[in-house]
Point group: C2
């Protein structure tokens, strides 16, 4: 496993995602304080894909530097509040999910074992379960 590559790709994804969450937060704020601006930003965000946050911000830069500033501030604040709790949340989320699949597998094995004694590779041709 190339964990260095995975770490970098995951960090990039997170940066894009926190930028998206920042835009979402600002859209909620604007909807209350300045509906016209909210409408404008919503339209812009449909036009430019937020999955590539750098391209989105570059495009916004040409039209509304004030909104770029606001997004930068909000994503920095979100990162400060959120990222430190992520390692524990993700580790325990994966552990919990894995545990539930292991239980399901054990349940199915114990249910089928009496009928199926030759289960060196029970799943290869099994698509009916």
């Amino acid at each position: 496993m190339n964990s260095k590559r995975v770490a970098q790709e995951t960090a990039n994804l997170l940066q894009d995602y926190l930028t998206y969450q920042a835009v979402r937060t600002i859209l909620d704020q604007l909807a209350e304080t300045d509906p016209n601006q909210a409408l404008w930003l919503r339209k812009f965000s449909r036009q430019y894909n937020l999955r590539d946050s750098e391209a989105y911000l570059q495009a916004l830069m040409a039209q509304r530097k004030d909104l770029v500033m606001r997004i930068m501030k909000v994503r920095e604040a979100l990162a400060a509040e959120v990222v430190d709790s992520l390692p524990e949340m993700v580790r325990s989320g994966i552990e919990q999910s894995n545990l539930s699949y292991r239980c399901q597998i054990l349940e199915r094995l114990t249910q089928t074992q009496p009928e199926n004694t030759d289960n060196s590779h029970p799943d290869e041709s099994d698509s009916s379960e």
Copy 2:
């Protein structure tokens, strides 16, 4: 800002993403050791969207429990290797990106200031930059 909601949504996204990276890792391994299985898993992964890792694993469970086990192990290992480095990487990525936008904004302001003295809200009608 509802940072608790953002933290939970981000953790869910990360869990899905590490599952995707686990499948990608296994596809690379299978391509070398067992091309037929690689082909099968690639086909399956096109059919079931990995963006929802739980639905993907549930569907795979019905056909190949051994691959579900393998994905669980790999995503757990990836999480163990990767997640602790993410907070620092994301914080510094965002800081660096913000710094570069701030520089761009400053550059543009200092370039345009002599011609444009009334800049209480210079961006409102500015879409030509």
